[in-house]
C-alpha cells in the first residue's frame, strides 16, 4: 500500500493525539477547546502554494493529575515550524519536544516522523495549551481534516482561509449525528473566504477490531485543492480526475525500466508455455512467489513505483514496485498490461473526488481478449481471476496513455471462497472413524497457504493437522495428503483418515453423536453494550460441510435434530439431517454474502447466531434395536 495516504491520515488525525489508550467517554483528560486554522499562502521564491497550519488545543484535567503525552506527526512534505505549550499559563521548564522517526506497523520504512513530549497536568483542573505551526508544502498533500481526537472534544473549530486566487472544494463527510455548524465569511483585507466549522461534543476515537476505515465513520472534511492563480499563472492541482491522473503519470515518466533485463526474465519465466493464459499465470505467480512485499515509502517515492528491473533484482518491493514489475514482464511478452491506482475498502472515497486520499494501492491490469484482469501480486496466494475482498468492487484508475480508464474491480460472490469438507464416518465405540476430503478456494485457500508458509517447514505438517482438527487434541489425523502447499493456481485440497475420540457418548442402549466438531460462528454474537462500530469480516465466506454417518448394525436412528434455515440478503445459515438407508447425512452451509455487519443489524445477527448455536448444541440419537 502506498504510504502517503496513510501518513496523510496520520497527519490529519494525529494532531495533538496521545499514544495512550486511556481516552474514553469518561476520560480524565478532555479537550475543552481546539482550533485548527489552515491558510493557503503563496511562496514567491518557489512559485508554489503552501498550506500553513496553526493549531491550538486546550486540554483539561477533569478528575486527577496525570501526564498528557502530546504527539504530532510530520514527514518530508509536512514540516513542524514551531511548537509551543504551557500548563496553567506557565511553560514547563524541563519539557523538550523530541523529534524522531516513527515506525508504522507493517512498514519496512517510511518518512513518517513524530514530535512528542509529555505534559504533566499536575492537579485536577489543570489546563494545558499546546500549539503547533506546520507547513504542508504542496496543497495536494492536504487531503482531509478530522474533528475527533483521542480525547473527547467539547468544542473544536476548523478554519480554512482560502484566498480568492485559490480554488478548493470542501466536502463534509460523516456529519450526520454530530453537531457541526458552518459559517462562511469574507475577509476583505486579505481578499479571502473564511470557512469556519464548529463541532461540539465529539466522542474520542476508541479503536475497535475489524471495523470500517476511519473515513467511513468519523466526521471530517475532505479537502480538494483544485487550482491556484496567485501570481497571474494558474497552478493546477486536482481539478478533476484527469488532473490527478496526469500528476501520477508525470511521476511515471521518471521511471526508466531496463527492458532488456525484463525481457530476458519474462522469456525465462514463460519458457515452454505456448498458451497465453499459461504465460500470464506464469508471470503473475512468479512475482507473487519471488518478490517479498515490503512497504518502503519515502516522500514522493510514496507515489513513484520502483523500476521493474530493480524490483526484480532486489526480490522485494511495495505494491507499486510489484505492480510495475508485473506490468513490464507481461508487456515484454507482448501483452497489454497497465498500471492502476485504487483505494482499498479501507477508504470511503472514490475518484469522483480527485484527491490523494482516494487511493492507497497500486496493481496491474491486463487487457486480454476484451476482458480486463486485475493482477495484485501483493496477494501471495490468490490465483489469476480471483480478487481479494479489499479490492473487490472498488473503483480503479487504469493508465491509458494520456487518458485514463475508470472502471471497477469485479465484485465476487461468496462462491469464490468455498471451503468444502466431506466426511464419511463410522462409529467405533465412543470414537468416530472415517475419511475426509476437503478443498479450499479463493481467499480461504490464500489464508491457509499464507499461514502455513509462515510456519517452519518441519512444523507445517503438524500445523496443518492442528488446523484441520480445529485445534482438538482428540481429533487424530493420519495419511494426510494435500495438493502443493506452494501452488497459487487451482484449489487447495486435502484428504486424510481420522479418528475423533469421545465424539460419541454412549448411555445404555443409546449413542449420542455430535456430527459437527467445528461449529463455525458458534456464540459469535456481538456484545451490544460494548461494541460501538460496525463489524467487517475479512472476506465473504462459503462453508459447506457434509458428514455421512453409517448407522451401526443393530441400531436405528431414534432422534434427529431439527433442521435450521436462516436466509437474508447478508447471510444464509442452513443445517439439514437426511436419513438414508443405514446412514444419516448432515449438511451444513454457512454463507456470508456481505462482509459488513452494520450495528443496526446486530440484534438480527445475534438472534440468528443464537439459533445457529442452539442447532449446534443438538445431537443425533441412535438406539440399539
Amino acid at each position: 500500500m502506498k504510504l502517503p495516504v496513510t501518513l496523510l491520515l496520520l497527519l490529519a488525525f494525529g494532531i495533538k493525539a496521545s499514544a495512550g489508550n486511556f481516552a474514553s467517554k469518561d476520560s480524565n483528560i478532555i479537550i475543552s477547546n481546539a482550533k485548527d486554522v489552515y491558510e493557503f499562502v503563496y511562496d514567491k521564491s518557489s512559485n508554489s502554494v503552501q498550506v500553513k497550519e496553526s493549531s491550538t488545543t486546550i486540554y483539561n484535567c477533569n478528575d486527577f493529575r496525570s501526564t498528557l503525552p502530546v504527539v504530532e506527526f510530520y514527514n518530508e512534505k509536512v514540516t513542524i515550524d514551531d511548537v509551543d505549550f504551557s500548563v496553567d499559563g506557565k511553560k514547563p521548564k524541563d519539557v523538550k519536544p523530541v523529534y524522531s522517526y516513527y515506525e508504522i506497523d507493517d512498514y519496512f520504512y517510511s518518512d513518517a516522523h513524530i514530535c512528542y513530549f509529555p505534559l504533566l497536568l499536575d492537579k485536577k483542573g489543570s489546563v494545558a495549551q499546546v500549539s503547533f505551526q506546520k507547513t504542508i508544502q504542496d496543497p495536494r498533500y492536504f487531503t482531509n481534516v478530522f474533528f475527533d481526537e483521542i480525547f473527547p472534544v467539547a468544542l473544536k473549530q476548523i478554519v480554512f482561509k482560502v484566498p480568492k486566487w485559490m480554488n478548493i472544494e470542501l466536502k463534509e463527510m460523516n456529519f450526520n449525528g454530530y453537531t457541526i455548524s458552518k459559517t462562511k465569511d469574507y475577509d476583505s483585507k486579505n481578499d479571502e473566504d473564511v470557512y469556519t466549522y464548529t463541532a461540539s461534543n465529539i466522542e474520542s476515537r476508541d479503536g475497535e477490531a475489524s471495523c470500517p476505515g476511519p473515513t467511513y465513520i468519523y466526521p471530517h472534511i475532505l479537502v480538494i485543492s483544485k487550482e491556484a492563480n496567485p501570481a497571474g499563472t494558474t497552478i493546477t492541482y486536482f481539478k478533476s480526475t484527469a488532473d490527478q491522473y496526469a500528476w501520477y503519470r508525470s511521476l511515471l515518466k521518471d521511471i526508466s525500466n531496463n527492458e532488456t533485463i525484463i525481457k530476458a526474465k519474462a522469456d525465462e519465466i514463460t519458457a515452454g508455455k505456448t498458451n497465453d493464459i499459461d504465460k500470464i499465470k506464469a508471470i503473475f505467480y512468479w512475482v507473487q512467489n519471488n518478490v517479498r512485499y515490503i512497504a518502503f515509502e519515502d516522500g514522493i517515492a510514496g507515489f513513484l513505483p520502483d523500476k521493474a528491473d530493480e524490483v526484480m533484482r532486489k526480490k522485494y518491493g511495495d505494491c507499486k514496485g510489484m505492480a510495475n514489475l508485473t506490468k513490464e514482464l507481461l508487456k515484454a511478452e507482448g501483452f497489454d498490461a497497465r498500471l492502476c491506482w485504487l483505494g482499498t475498502n479501507h477508504i470511503a472515497y472514490d475518484y469522483s473526488t480527485p484527491s490523494l486520499a482516494v487511493d492507497n494501492h497500486m496493481i496491474c491490469a491486463l487487457m486480454y481478449k476484451g476482458k480486463t484482469y486485475f493482477l495484485d501480486a501483493t496477494e501471495n496466494y490468490l490465483a489469476l481471476n480471483n480478487y481479494a475482498e479489499r479490492i473487490q468492487g472498488r473503483q480503479i484508475l487504469i493508465e491509458d496513455g494520456d487518458k485514463y480508464i475508470l472502471t471497477h474491480v469485479p465484485e465476487e460472490t461468496y462462491t469464490q471462497n468455498l471451503d468444502s469438507e466431506k466426511r464419511v464416518l463410522t462409529i467405533n465405540g465412543t470414537d468416530l472413524n472415517g475419511t475426509v476430503n476437503q478443498s479450499w478456494k479463493g481467499e480461504e485457500k490464500e489464508y491457509i497457504l499464507y499461514e502455513l508458509n509462515t510456519v517452519k517447514k518441519d512444523k507445517s505438517q503438524d500445523a496443518l493437522k492442528r488446523y484441520l482438527a480445529n485445534g482438538s487434541a482428540d481429533y487424530k489425523i493420519t495419511d494426510l495428503k494435500t495438493s502443493s502447499l506452494d501452488s497459487i493456481d487451482g484449489d487447495l485440497t486435502a484428504s486424510y483418515s481420522m479418528v475423533h475420540s469421545n465424539a460419541v457418548t454412549s448411555f445404555g442402549k443409546d449413542y449420542y453423536v455430535d456430527l459437527d466438531f467445528k461449529k463455525e460462528l458458534s456464540s459469535s454474537d456481538f456484545d451490544t453494550s460494548k461494541r460501538k462500530l460496525d463489524y467487517l469480516f475479512p472476506y465473504k465466506t462459503h462453508i459447506e460441510r457434509i458428514t455421512e454417518l453409517t448407522v451401526p448394525a443393530g441400531y436405528k436412528i431414534s432422534s434427529v435434530p431439527p433442521d435450521l434455515s436462516i436466509s437474508n440478503s447478508n447471510y444464509d445459515f442452513s443445517i439439514t439431517y437426511k436419513q438414508q438407508p443405514n446412514k444419516v447425512v448432515y449438511h451444513k452451509s454457512i454463507i456470508l454474502k456481505n462482509t459488513h455487519v452494520a450495528k443496526a443489524n446486530f440484534k438480527q445477527w445475534n438472534d440468528d447466531i443464537a439459533k445457529l448455536t442452539e442447532a449446534y448444541n443438538q445431537q443425533l440419537v441412535l438406539t440399539q434395536q
Binding site: N28, S66, F108, K123, K124, Y316, D474, F507, N617
Partner: protein
C-alpha cells in the same frame, strides 16, 4: 558585518560538509577493509556451500556462526586541563558472523532484514578536553545462489531510521534473497572508550538454537590487562585458553553439529540446556577496587569468591542507601520507638514486613496519579530490599540471616556471574523459622516464592554485637519447599439450568486459592485501592484518602485519588470476565455478580465468588439433555504427542492440589445417567487423582481432586505425571445424560 557573518557561516558550512564527507569516506573504507578481512580468506566452515540432504526438511540450517571479540588498549597523548598527558583508550571489536541456508519462506522472512545502530557517539567535550566514547557498526551480506554464484548485497541500500550527527540507526532489506539461497552476513561493532572501561557482556551462547547448527565458534582475544569470567552451564565444554606472543588472552570454543532446541513443557532453560556465558572488562588504573574481575585472569566455571566479597562489602558499607520508612511505621504502630523493645519478636517482624509491603507497593506518586491495575504487578528488587530489611532488623536488635539464591527458572547458584543474578530473602530462626521474601504485593509474611523453593542459598549473618556493620558468610542452606496441601485451588461450583433456556447453564462459583496458586489471580482481580487500605490497616494507618484528608497540605489530593480509584473500579468486572475466560477457555455469556470474599492479603486463602451463564455445555438429544459436566472444572490441556516422551527433568511450577466440588441441579422430570464415567482413581509417587460422582433427588455431586506432590521430578517420572494429567483430561471429557422420565 552581515557579510562577514555570512562568510563565516559559509566557511563553517563547507567545513561541516567536508567533515561529514570525510567521515563517510572513512566509513566506506573501513567497511571495505572489514569485508575483505571476513570474506577474502574465510575459515573452511564459512566456505561450505552444500548441506547434507537429510537437512532439507529443516526450515534453515546454520552452516557456521561465530562470535569474535578483539579488545586492546593504547595510550594516547592528549592536551588536557593540565597540559599534555597520556590517556588510555580501550578498543572493542565484536564481530558476529553467520552463514545460513534458507530452506523456506519462514526462514526467508526471519533473515530478510538487518537492523543496527550504525553510529553512536557518546563522547563528552568540556572546554578543550574531549573524552571519546564512540561506537560504529559495519554490516555486510552476500548471497550464494544454488548454482554457486555469489552476490554481494549493496549495503548502500540501507535506510536510516535515525540520522543525527552522533546517532545513526540503520535498516537493510536483503536484496535478491530467495528460498534455496545461502546468506552469509556479519555485523561488526567497533567501540573506542577513553578514561573508562565498561564491563562487556555477559554474552550468552546456548549450544543449539532455533535451527540446527553445523559449526559454532566463540573466540576472544583480549588485552593482557583484561579480566575475564565465563561459565559453561549444563555440560557445555570449557573454552580453550592460551596466550599469544603479545601475552593477549585467547579464549576459544567451537562446536559442531548442534541439533536445534525444541521447546518442551516444564523446563528451565538455564538449568537444562548447555550454554556458555562470558563477560570481560579491561582493568584500568582507576577501576573499581571492589570489582570481581582480576587483571590478566580468566575465571571459569564457578561463583567467584571475589563476587561474594563484593557483596559483603556492600552489606557492610554505610554508603548504601537504606529506606527506613517501614521501621518508622512500625515504631508508630507500637506508639513510638521506645515501645519496640516491649514487643515480641514475632509481632515486631510481622508488622515490619507488612509496613515494608505498604511502603514498597503503595507509595503512589502525588504528582502523576496512576493507580491502574498495572501497578498490581510490580516486583520488588529483592537484593536491595533485603539489605534495607536487614538494617532495620539490626536496629531492632533482631538476629537474622540474609540468604542469596537463584530462582529455579534462572541459572544455577554455582553459575552466578554478577550480583544482579542473585535474589535475596531474610531468614529468622529464633525459636521458629521465619522467611521474609521481597517479591510482590500479595506475598505474605513467612511466605517463600515458589521459584525460590528447594534452592541452595548462601547465607550472611550480621554480627549483632559489632559496633560497625559486620556480616559474616555462614555457608549454604537449602530453602524449604511447600507441600501440595499449601498450594491449593478449590472450586465449589453450583450449577443449574437457565430457567429460560435449558441449553444454558447458570454457574455459581466460589473459588479459594492458597499459597503459590493465589498470586496471579489476586493481582488480576484485586483493586489497588483495597490492597493499600488493607495494608495500611495492618499497621494501624488510615487508608490513603483518609490519610491525605488529615493533612491540610494534601487535602486537595483526596478527590483526585478518589476519582482515580473510582475510575479503575469500573474495570473490575472486565477483570473477572477475563478470569472466567482464562479458566474455561470460553467467555461467559453474562456475568451477573462478582465479589472478592477474602482478599488474602494476610490470610492463607484468597476467596472470590462469581455467578455467570455459560453456553455450549448442554446438548439437546431428543427429549434428553447431555451435559458436558467435565468441562465445568475448566479448560484442561491434553499433553501433545511430541511432549509425551522426554529426557529432560521436569520443573513443575510448585507442588499443588486442585479440588473441584461440583453440584449440578437435576431438573424435575429428569433422571441422570453416566455417573460411573466420573469414577477415577490414580495414585503414584508423583501424586494422585480421584474423581467420584453421586446423585440424590435434587442434584448430581461430582468431586475431583488432583494433587502433584513435588515441584521437581526426574525425567523418568514423566509417565507417572502423564497418568495424572491424562486422567484429569479424561474426566474433563466426561458427560452426563439427563434423561426425561417417562
Amino acid at each position: 558585518m552581515r557579510t562577514k557573518f555570512l562568510f563565516i557561516a559559509a566557511i563553517l558550512c563547507i567545513v561541516i560538509n567536508a567533515s561529514a564527507q570525510k567521515d563517510e569516506a572513512e566509513y566506506k573504507q573501513r567497511s571495505q577493509d572489514i569485508q575483505s578481512e571476513l570474506w577474502s580468506n574465510p575459515a573452511k566452515e564459512f566456505a561450505v556451500k552444500a548441506i547434507p540432504s537429510t537437512m532439507d526438511s529443516e526450515s534453515a540450517v546454520i552452516i557456521a556462526t561465530s562470535f569474535d571479540v578483539v579488545n586492546s588498549a593504547k595510550m594516547k597523548m592528549k592536551f588536557g586541563a593540565l597540559g599534555f598527558g597520556s590517556v588510555q583508550r580501550v578498543f572493542y571489536q565484536t564481530t558476529f558472523h553467520e552463514r545460513v541456508k534458507i530452506n523456506d519462506k519462514a526462514a526467508l522472512e526471519d533473515y530478510s532484514t538487518i537492523e543496527y545502530q550504525k553510529k553512536l557517539d557518546k563522547s563528552v567535550s568540556v572546554a578543550l578536553i574531549k573524552v571519546y566514547n564512540k561506537t560504529t557498526t559495519y554490516i555486510g551480506a552476500k548471497i550464494i545462489k544454488p548454482d554457486g554464484k555469489e552476490i554481494v548485497v549493496n549495503t548502500d541500500e540501507e535506510v536510516l531510521t535515525k540520522d543525527e550527527t552522533k546517532n545513526k540507526a540503520g535498516k537493510l532489506a536483503i536484496s535478491d534473497l530467495q528460498v534455496g539461497d545461502i546468506l552469509d552476513y556479519y555485523i561488526r561493532i567497533e567501540q573506542m572508550q577513553e578514561l573508562n572501561s565498561d564491563m562487556q557482556g555477559p554474552y550468552t551462547f546456548f549450544l543449539g538454537g532455533e535451527y540446527p547448527i553445523l559449526y559454532q565458534s566463540i573466540k576472544l582475544q583480549l588485552d593482557e590487562k583484561s579480566g575475564v569470567e565465563y561459565i559453561t552451564g549444563n555440560g557445555a565444554p570449557a573454552m580453550k585458553e592460551m596466550r599469544d606472543d603479545d601475552d593477549n588472552i585467547i579464549l576459544f570454543s567451537e562446536q559442531r553439529n548442534l541439533p536445534k532446541i525444541q521447546s518442551s513443557l516444564f523446563t528451565s532453560s538455564y538449568r537444562q540446556y548447555p550454554y556458555i556465558s562470558i563477560q570481560y572488562m579491561f582493568i584500568t588504573k582507576g577501576a573499581d577496587a571492589s570489582t570481581h574481575f582480576s587483571k590478566g585472569e580468566v575465571k571459569h566455571g564457578f561463583l567467584s569468591d571475589a563476587l561474594l566479597d563484593q557483596f559483603q562489602k556492600i552489606l557492610q558499607s554505610n554508603a548504601v542507601p537504606v529506606n527506613y520508612s517501614a521501621y518508622i511505621k512500625t515504631a508508630n504502630y507500637f506508639g513510638g520507638e521506645k515501645h519496640l523493645k516491649d514487643q515480641s519478636q514475632d509481632t515486631l517482624v510481622k508488622t515490619l514486613y507488612n509496613a515494608w509491603r505498604l511502603t514498597t507497593f503503595c507509595d503512589f506518586s502525588t504528582t502523576n496519579i496512576d493507580i491502574t491495575n498495572d501497578n498490581n504487578y510490580a516486583q520488588a528488587n529483592s537484593l536491595i530490599c533485603a539489605i534495607s530489611m536487614s538494617r532495620m532488623l539490626r536496629t531492632l536488635g533482631i538476629d537474622h540471616e540474609i540468604v542469596l539464591l537463584c530462582p529455579r527458572n534462572s541459572n544455577k547458584l554455582k553459575d552466578v556471574m554478577n550480583l544482579g543474578d542473585f535474589e535475596a530473602m531474610i531468614h529468622l530462626k529464633n525459636g521458629k523459622d521465619y522467611w521474609l521474601a521481597f517479591n510482590d504485593i500479595v506475598t505474605q509474611f513467612n511466605e517463600i516464592p515458589a521459584r525460590f523453593q528447594g534452592e541452595d542459598a548462601l547465607t550472611f549473618r550480621p554480627d549483632m554485637d559489632a559496633k560497625n556493620l559486620e556480616y559474616n558468610p555462614m555457608g549454604k542452606q537449602k530453602i524449604p519447599v511447600a507441600s501440595a496441601d499449601k498450594n491449593t485451588e478449590t472450586e465449589n461450583i453450583n450449577v443449574a439450568f437457565n430457567s429460560s433456556n435449558m441449553q444454558q447453564l447458570q454457574i455459581d462459583r466460589s473459588t479459594t486459592l492458597s499459597g503459590a496458586t493465589r498470586h496471579y489471580t489476586q493481582k488480576e482481580l484485586l483493586m489497588m485501592e483495597d490492597m493499600q487500605a488493607d495494608l495500611a490497616t495492618s499497621v494501624n494507618e488510615k487508608k490513603l484518602t483518609d490519610r491525605l484528608a488529615d493533612d491540610k497540605k494534601q487535602q486537595k489530593l483526596v478527590t483526585e485519588f478518589s476519582a482515580a480509584f473510582a475510575k479503575e473500579k469500573t474495570n473490575q468486572k472486565s477483570y473477572f470476565e477475563d478470569e472466567i475466560k482464562e479458566q474455561y477457555d470460553q467467555s461467559a455469556k453474562d456475568v451477573s455478580s462478582y465479589e472478592v470474599k477474602d482478599a488474602g492479603m494476610f490470610s492463607s486463602n484468597f476467596m472470590y465468588h462469581t455467578n455467570f451463564t455459560m453456553d455450549n455445555y448442554v446438548k439437546k438429544a431428543g427429549n434428553n439433555y447431555i451435559i458436558e459436566a467435565g468441562k465445568l472444572l475448566g479448560s484442561v490441556t491434553k499433553i501433545e504427542e511430541k511432549d509425551r516422551t522426554r529426557t529432560l527433568d521436569v520443573y513443575m511450577p510448585y507442588a499443588r492440589t486442585y479440588t473441584y466440588n461440583i453440584s449440578l441441579a437435576l431438573p424435575a422430570g429428569y433422571k441422570v445417567k453416566g455417573l460411573e464415567n466420573f469414577n477415577k482413581n490414580v495414585s503414584n509417587e508423583t501424586g494422585s487423582l480421584t474423581s467420584t460422582a453421586t446423585a440424590d433427588a435434587a442434584a448430581v455431586h461430582i468431586t475431583i481432586k488432583q494433587q502433584f506432590l513435588k515441584n521437581f521430578e526426574v525425567a523418568a517420572s514423566w509417565p507417572k505425571l502423564l497418568e495424572l494429567m491424562d486422567g484429569l483430561y479424561d474426566v474433563s471429557n466426561q458427560k452426563l445424560l439427563f434423561e426425561k422420565s417417562n
